[in-house]
Symmetry: none
Subunit: 506 residues, 3 copies
């Protein structure tokens, strides 16, 4: 059994938690949109054609922001195709995913849906096959006040009030040779610069996300960000990062340590941005929009592996859920420099929610750590001091067996601890204490366990299906709290959410 | 009299003959389209408005592939203007040729015509004033299966079945400052790369032609090809070359040796492509699409020279026909690395076929070597060993008096020899033998003369006119065949097609 | 049994055979110089200290040109150290090979030795730690006429007559990071350009060799040559190539096909040079100096493999000899573009000749194909048409089982055929015919077998040692010649030299 000791100190903080960390992503890909969130013939469809059973699960999942409409899809997308009367919308060949797009769902529809499920829309403009003009047009269509042609067109399409979309992505993965209209760093930097400048003319208060690297292994990683931010430093707020993780060649131990890669990725981008700030003697801090991340079995699916089936629906197991939980912990640990993040994607192909056309919707294993983190991570992100045993991985060398973060809700004085035991084989004895308050500051003298839930299974390959949708859920964990000290034993490959509540002096 | 000895060895081959070597070109230029192939008011017009008398001559000429719609024209062309009901098509100013384009002939019309005369269409996309999106749109319009808007638009325009165009030019002469939307090598390389990648998303089996040099004297020659292919090496199949020849300052001797330039042009482009293959350690071999070539009196017409008249109709004489024949021989000699070629252009201004509006159509002198080579060059191109007397030229130094190639049709065992005597003054005594078969291989023991035709005239300036359309034709030549040896005397400045047939053992 | 049919046609030629193809290499490395060619205390030493027994073997081996003094050695070499009275020459640390250099042999000594054994010296200047000045000084010392200080110094050192060295290497392997004073392509291109220009001021008729790639797997391959030749195109005659072959991970089948790599290497360099010629519209053809090539057990020695012993002496077996023979065939096949080649190295470490200090000298297996090719390849290199069965290799895919070339000596009308059966397991039935002469040309009507010798052994690992120096020699092969047809059966993994002599009409 491994050991880890953690100190939480309310005075040792990363910063306020940006709620946009719990974003998700709806792309026109696979069955995410059609027969995912939208299926007008479904018994549970609402008047607009959206599935209310899916919407219910989305509300439970608790994403804060949802990116749309892509992904690679956006780089060939003509937004005009997706607005106006549905019967007049053209069917297009989608060259990004080499499929047919009916355009029955478009920008207005998505915003309606997003508002309905209580999430903030985050839109991307097409900088692959299009440029400044079309970005301006879409922005005006979405956010313009009635009185100009495009805003009036929106009004005529049933949305008199502006959509008021606050955060915009300047294209998608433009560093990737697979992208329609792929660009060199310098080409993209110029296009992003001019697009950002023009969009700010319409609305100076927008938050703009420049494209960063599609993953940390891109040959242009780092140099791309430097080139782009050198042109756009004053014009954008965020730079994107994307990452998908999977066991490579069966190396599950390294897979369980995937957050090491995400950690280095974020640190590398932050250093790059701060290098440019230094060059400018600027105090501006560019933040990261980690707007695509998840477990994705790119290798497994090409291998035709055992788990799977319908290729439009992911099948995630307990190990995947533990990795997803650890990636969320990593995002929280970097809450001072990651301003937004989007799990990709919300429904079906890569999603925590699955559906059958005409049939039910259910939760994948990865649904649970996301939903619980989004629900209970509140207030201020603390910076735990961790002393953990180390375990060996092929890909990352020795890594901490424990990954942990915590938040403190100053209104309730509740603390939420999120922790993962990365070992596939060894239990982990966790001892955590909360430091006493600084002199002169009030703090609870004692805590009690409010709740401990865990995602774990003796069969790490356990997963949910339509027939057995609750095979994997979050179950009660066991831990004890005495005074300011929590003790727990974390089983191998397990994720935990442990909440401490102050004991009121009696 | 000069002398040349030629050995043909069926074991010594260049490779299979790519039939696309005998391509032609229809551009919206001069009277090539309107009152050329298309003239709805003409007595010989068919239901679609195309001249059946011209179509008949095209079939006789025997082009295999016809490039369309330009040429410089394509760099300002909007393909949408040319489809749909003719009465709704806009009249546009054509900035490339500074004329007015009625759009009465467009893509669908051309493809109909091409299929009707039995040639393969080769289309160019506009990368001058347009980009990736419009290239994708045109491709989808042409090749898309019904079910998307653009394919459905084609169907609505009367073509339910996809046109299935296999070979596409990525713009035209983008290295030329005269080109609308002319680009630097790096600019074009990037645009061609992204366009090719996107087009392959729609159809991975397309053959794509990147723009090479507009002629070998371009200041960017070589570096242009390197820059373009360095970006597009894996994405394209062919790189284009264009060349027009004429007597410069009256130097007819060099003009008769024009194939020397074509030969060096091809070799230079091949070396450039193979240099990039070497850098990549790749076995891929980029091939040349010599998609504009011909005799063109650019100097003569600007001089207002003696021959000519109507500037919309070329007047080619016997010398021109001999040069055209020698250029075809050169293309055959490089059949392993030239995959396609287009004589520019099919009708009138630069064409082997001439017409009078409302009047007849007739064959220019250059019609004959093209028609005979296309008809009789079959099977495998042989690599003759030539030992020829040399003649002096101002432009190319000493050159072989004889230019020759041959093909072997394995089905019939017939051999077709194509030969030119380049001297303006000296006859050429030709001795050609066919090497015996390799041990253990079957081959005819003896040959007989199947046919010998020649284009030659005591007046090298002889040419055809509407009034005298058959002043220059291919006439019987004289040669003798004994056993495996052919002997002939080739008059000065003459082109020959000599066919040998096996003598059946009696 | 495999089959191959070969046609030789005296009219089908590569070109005249450049005798410099049969060059060798003496570097200050291992025991090549000291106790190799030079050993003053040896019983067979001549007055200058050179071993006459080794010299005798060198004469028998028949190299035409010998490169000196390196190799890596030259990049730290001060030529002044090696001239003048031996007792005054400094002992230096040789940083290239991390050993001690006594300088008892230097330029004058080497040239004396070379003239004595009848070979042409090919010298390299140091462009690693030195530059233009020292190159000019060495050139003046070697080739200057008395009357200037350096030429007078040479005269004072006993050589009044200039050495008249015609061919010079501009440094050695400057692309290799291991090289003292390694340079980027652009750095070397500039230095070579200025050095070449300066050297030509002293003697415009020198032949100069620019450094190419150290092997085809160098990351800069192709781009290096382009960069260098782009600067030096008009100033140099040749560009170097180096390659060493060995069985990698025991893959002897691919090892036997090593000439495929050499073939692609030469083609790639030629394409690069001709690309630059195309850019310049130049008819100049840069040729290759393949001035280091051989079998070298870099992997085997680092593995401490079975064959070996004294690591200062290679032990080559029959398979190695067959590969060496096939590499010589490849050089001959490219005789139009490879102007010089040097087997590396002449004596001991990598050499066809081995010695024991104070003891005898003997021939390695690879001695025999070199000696016989150098002796019998004469006149014009023919371009055989080969139709061979194919065999599979891991590294090169399917390759011809037969590799063959031939030369025709027009004085004697003798034909020498050099052939290798690359298969380790299958015999090869070879049928070769000589095409009849062109009409009107004289040629022998019939041939007889003048001699057939082969290097082959039922034990492909057979090799020579001091104790058994003639275990592997060239032995009579068997073939029959009737009329113009040769038939032979080539055993597995065998090299052959088959000479045909004309039958005088009786």
């Amino acid at each position: 059994m491994g050991e880890a000791v953690v100190r939480l100190d309310p005075a040792n903080v990363v910063g306020p938690l940006p709620r946009r960390l719990f974003g998700s992503f709806v792309e026109h890909l696979g069955r995410c949109v059609y027969t995912g969130i939208y299926e007008p013939d479904h018994p549970a469809a609402d008047a607009l054609g959206f599935r209310t059973d899916v919407a219910e699960l989305v509300r439970e999942l608790g994403p804060t922001t949802v990116r749309y409409p892509g992904g690679n899809f956006v780089s060939g997308y003509r937004w005009e195709d997706g607005v106006g009367p549905r019967e007049r919308r053209p069917v297009r060949f989608d060259a990004a995913w080499q499929t047919v797009e009916t355009n029955q769902v478009g920008t207005d529809d998505f915003v309606d849906w997003a508002r309905g499920v209580g999430v903030e829309p985050m839109l991307a403009v097409n900088l692959g096959t299009r440029g400044v003009t079309e970005a301006l047009d879409l922005l005006e269509y979405c956010n313009g006040r009635p009185g100009t042609a495009l805003a009036d067109q929106r009004a005529a399409n049933g949305h008199r009030e502006p959509h008021d979309v606050r955060i915009w992505c300047l294209g998608n993965e433009m560093d990737g040779p697979w992208q329609l209209g792929h660009k060199t760093a310098e080409e993209y930097a110029r296009l992003a610069e001019e697009t950002a400048r023009a969009m700010r003319r319409l609305d100076g208060s927008l938050e703009l996300v420049a494209c960063g690297s599609s993953n940390r292994a891109m040959p242009t990683f780092g140099v791309w960000e430097r080139t782009v931010l050198d042109r756009c430093f004053e014009l954008v707020d965020h730079i994107s990062a994307h990452a998908y993780y999977e066991p490579v060649d069966g190396d599950v131990d390294s897979f369980l340590a995937s957050s090491e890669d995400m950690h280095r990725f974020i640190d590398g981008v932050v250093a790059t941005a701060d290098h440019l700030a230094a060059v400018r003697r600027s105090d501006k801090r560019i933040t990261v929009s980690f707007d695509e991340w998840n477990v994705w079995f790119q290798q497994r699916s090409s291998d035709g592996g055992a788990i799977g089936g319908d290729d439009q629906v992911s099948v995630y197991d307990v190990t995947d859920a533990v990795v997803v939980g650890s990636l969320l912990i990593t995002l929280l640990q970097h809450a001072d420099r990651v301003a937004a993040a989007c799990q990709a994607q919300l429904v079906n192909l890569l999603g925590p929610i699955s559906t059958r056309p005409g049939g039910p919707a259910w939760r994948q294993s990865i649904f649970h750590p996301f939903a619980l983190t989004s629900r209970y991570a509140r207030g201020t992100v603390l910076r735990p001091l961790v002393r953990s045993d180390r375990i060996e991985t092929t890909r990352y060398g020795p890594v901490d067996q424990l990954v942990a973060t915590a938040t403190l809700d100053s209104e309730t004085a509740q603390i939420a601890v999120f922790a993962v035991n990365r070992s596939r084989t060894a239990e982990l004895a966790l001892t955590l204490d909360v430091a006493p308050p600084l002199p002169g500051q009030a703090a609870p003298a004692q805590y009690r366990l409010a709740e401990h839930v865990t995602v774990h299974d003796d069969d790490p390959g356990a997963h949910n299906t339509e027939q057995e949708p609750d095979r994997v859920v979050a179950r009660p964990g066991s831990s004890s709290v005495r005074g300011r000290v929590l003790r727990a034993v974390l089983p191998p490959a397990s994720w935990h959410c442990i909440r401490l509540a102050p004991v009121e002096p009696s």
